[in-house]
Symmetry: C2
Amino acid sequence: MEFELIERLKSALPRRSSTPLGIGDDCAILTERSGFDQLVTTDMLLDGVHFIYDADRKNAQSLDLIARKSIAVSLSDIAAMGGEPRTAFLALAIPRSWNIEQANRLADCFARAADEFQIDLAGGDTTCWDHLLAIDVTVLGRVRKSKAIRRDGARAGDFICVSGPLGGSLSGKHLTFTPRIRLGQWLAELGSVHAMIDISDGLLADLGHILRQSNVGAELFSEQIPISKQATALSDGKSPLEHALTDGEDFELLWTMSEPAYRKLRQQQEDFIEVHHIGNITREKGCFLIDKQGNRVQRSSGGYVHRLG
Amino acid sequence: MEFELIERLKSALPRRSSTPLGIGDDCAILTERSGFDQLVTTDMLLDGVHFIYDADRKNAQSLDLIARKSIAVSLSDIAAMGGEPRTAFLALAIPRSWNIEQANRLADCFARAADEFQIDLAGGDTTCWDHLLAIDVTVLGRVRKSKAIRRDGARAGDFICVSGPLGGSLSGKHLTFTPRIRLGQWLAELGSVHAMIDISDGLLADLGHILRQSNVGAELFSEQIPISKQATALSDGKSPLEHALTDGEDFELLWTMSEPAYRKLRQQQEDFIEVHHIGNITREKGCFLIDKQGNRVQRSSGGYVHRLG
């Protein structure tokens, strides 16, 4: 089964010029023009944690959505550095109970996802075992030399911005989100973004990464935080705002930039640009939430635990 | 637990100059001098398949050996292209039953393995789940432009060479082997190797990849195939030769070159060079085994099934 799956991927895929040798040898061979830095990210997605398939047959999600998410999650990491994704590598641990049709279907789903996102699937590894489906995707991308946007550059006075509504992603968005690749690349070219991350662990948690690594603090204006319809629709005792603050897997971009740069950005007309100013970076450490009445509450970075179903 | 493990790896690791940004952001940033092609390989290693840990507590192998093997397997792929390994990325699915000490121990084992092989651990991902340990390692390496040795270049008349004794790897070598990185790089620089692969699926199976991709056949001289002591020591009804032909995970290099190039190679004195001439590439398709008496038997590429214990 292992070799057939690789052959199937090989035949299903177009080859791009940056990949002189793709699937079918010991390694892929890549070339890169000078003037670029390379970006690399890897993500492990597990049945019962990041998606549901054999873990709960009753609520199983489609292999198409599972394959798409597995790639999109890594693309969101590339977007969060302002990069252009180019090549993906796929390692699969497949349940021994699967038949060859299921495996082929998964291969086809990955080929479609790679096609949707216009990246090469240039290599991989498949093995069978007696446990659940595990998927590892490694994506390589590029960014113009020294243009990558890191987490450690936020400065006191920066506006904190987010690219879309937050919360309730587990209702569906975590499987269908669009990684903000164009926006990320556009922000990197702009050159005025000081720090950026994608929201995978939750707004407070991911903002926490920026604050720690930049050695600054933040105040968030609770009224300005865009809340998704999904978060508003939930009736689990947590407020929609709490969902927006702590739910994971929104995969929106979260970045900081100076107020003048933000004003300029607001005037842009490109349809892929969405920006919400939700707070400010402060010299004082800690993360504070400020409500309409001006009440100020300190918030820890909170914890988001990956667990579905 | 997830963040701590990453922090631990980050603090345990030296940073090399080819990795301006390693663990701790959305992506690693790599730079490469021009004049090189990049090599990429990814391997998924699973408890109960490639190693034994929670799958069979009685026969559990040490985390040190497990981490080392997980990296060495990918390094062997880089060696099989003649490349220099540079950077590794690590994705872990960790059993939820583990305590933090176990996870830290695994992180330390990976740091030691990266140190042994002098590569950067530049990024990764850790998640917990209710199943067994799964490890994915992606290794990036480089090779001088157009010097990578592929599988598809074998020519009729080539000598088939192997770098060491084969068979019985599951007795221990599969956990302790030395990836043939220096030899692989040396052969690539030599420039006279036509095709190369590492023996992971078994001699017949991996030779089969070269034959298919090069559109040629082979005859192997059974007397000239070096057989490991481990294969000779096994008393499972299979002959030592059969073990050498079909056992997987020897991670020796298998390559083809012209007879004159082979004669020159034999005169080299470097201590990392070991070479055994085990057969010849033929225009006629198929793989034939020829014994002392001159008997000729066709052999399929055989099947190696990854399964321990």
